[in-house]
């Protein structure tokens, strides 16, 4: 299903093996899915997000991303409290395809459990594990 475009791996982010990225700014973690993940899913048609205020632990599912032929759960890379969701995605799920690391963000977690960050990968590790087929 790959579009053939170059997959990007921004180096300022942390990644989970289940393809979520995290951007940390102060006590807020912003989360989305990686460029690799959006490319593998294909045209995204629907994003289901949690309610603001929910408390979730790391690795628990916070939503679902659907393309025409697939549906994927998305998981908390770090535990914490959902402080904001990207409601624009309800009307424009294609934003995740167009700008996975920017306007396609999904949730903000604040406060979040900083200890969970240590279990995430940096861009180089994430990229090499995908290229070696260790994660897919």
């Amino acid at each position: 299903m790959s579009s053939g475009k170059e997959i990007s791996y921004p180096t300022d982010l942390k990644y989970a093996a289940t393809h979520e990225w995290v951007r940390v700014e102060g006590d807020t973690a912003t989360v989305g899915i990686s460029d690799y993940a959006q490319d593998a899913l294909g045209d995204i048609v629907f994003v289901e997000l949690p309610v603001v205020g929910m408390e979730l632990r790391a690795k628990s599912g916070f939503g679902v991303v659907e393309s025409v032929k697939a549906a994927s759960d998305v998981f908390m890379p770090v535990g914490g409290s959902i402080s904001a969701t990207n409601d624009e995605l309800a009307n424009a799920p294609e934003t995740v395809n167009a700008d996975a690391f920017g306007a396609g963000w999904m949730i903000k977690i604040s406060p979040f459990n900083a200890d969970d960050l240590a279990k995430l990968m940096d861009a180089a590790t994430y990229k090499s594990k995908i290229e070696s087929g260790e994660i897919h």
């Binding site: 045209d43 048609v45 629907f46 659907e66 025409v68 799920p93 294609e94």
Partner: protein
Amino acid sequence: MSITANKPEPLLYEQSNPGSIGYALPESDVPHTPLPAHLMRADLNLPEVAEVDVVRHFTRLSQKNYCVDLGIYPLGSCTMKYNPKMNEDAIQLTGMSQVHPMQPPETAQGVMQLMYELQEYLGEISGLPAVTLQPAAGAQGELVGILVIRAYHLKRGDTGRSEVLIPDSAHGTNPATSAMAGYRVVEVKSDARGNMDLDDLRSKVSDKTAAIMFTNPNTLGLFEEHVREVNKIVHDAGGLVYGDGANLNAIIGIARPGDLGFDVIHSNLHKTFSVPHGGGGPGSGPVMARPDLAEFLPTPIVSKKGDVYAFETPTNTIGRIKSFWGNFLALVRAYTYIRSYGKEHLREIAEISVLNANYLLALVRDVYDPQVPERTCKHEFVLNGTRFKKEYGVNTLDVAKRIIDYGFYPPTIYFPLIVPECLMIEPTETQSKASLDEFAAALLKIAEEARTDPQLLHNAPHNTPVTRLDDVKAAREPVLNYKPPQIPDQRKAA
């Protein structure tokens, strides 16, 4: 298809002509009672068309459909066999079609006799004599089977069993069913010969195993070579074996699931027993089980005492699985089909369905890539389209769409999920040799086109009422019903 097939047919709503009527009802022959005004609806927006408009509309739409009566419909795991015409005459006998489900059993002995005898036949064919005809479809049969297994464990006080083992090649209904019944799904890997990986199975079976759920032949069209061993491993751990009978067509009359160690199976009457698929249903999915599981079956089953048929509730029933007694008119068709084949011909269904599949495979195997080339298939086989994609840039969807241009329905594609770019082909026993030759010739021609003119495949199909449709638009902006053209709202303006 006909000359009108490719002409767009407006929705009936768009053809509505106020004042047109398509019906004639008698005048009321009783004194008038006033209607309760406070409960009445204001308006009802249904189309207004004449009878001839109705007939032409649906006839034109029908011509936009392919169907079994037009030719091969080789959907793998769907068993799209010819539906004998006599079945349809049988269901239109007024003593079948116009019998009310709630009328007293003493006024419905004929239909109950048919149900009783069908229970007996299905019990005999499967080797599992405790039978319920109630499930409305295969998926519902699965739910019944798993709930029966659950009830069996619970009655024994065996409450720690929380998992159902399912091979990775399984139909999606199997894991969905297990989850509905409250079980955790544990996936078992397949090996290179298309069997279950016994080491993986052994590592996953435990005292938490409630059941294993698998299809035999499996969705690769291969008979599970270790069927007895698989069943023994699960039985030894205290679990039961559920057979998804979707592929019973391959072994009917050849071997009985009960004799192979299955404890419970369902059979899709709309597959093996020729009930027409109706554009996606109704189906019917009776469940057959070991005699000691009879007490858990859904209510009711038909019993016979002397010459009298009655509905009975099994002592520890899981309950009722749908209203009334099952998809009765589907049962009539299956009954008619079994009586038509009889004891002496039944195994020909399996024999010829397997012969046809192997013949078709032999005709195309040098050009396409069988997933497990070293094995004889059963009623269906799976081709792997990875090489076509790599070498010609042609994916399986393109091949499938090009098959349409040759006047055939494409096979099942992208299933089972464990085979990339796969085509899953099930010809059934009701295809002639000539029709298989013709279908194979089309597949070979398409392979040639994939090499020489891939664009032809990318753009296929070419001569259909519509070409490839935009699935993404359909899912992003769902339009699921007719919405009248927007008329400016006077109130808002005012």
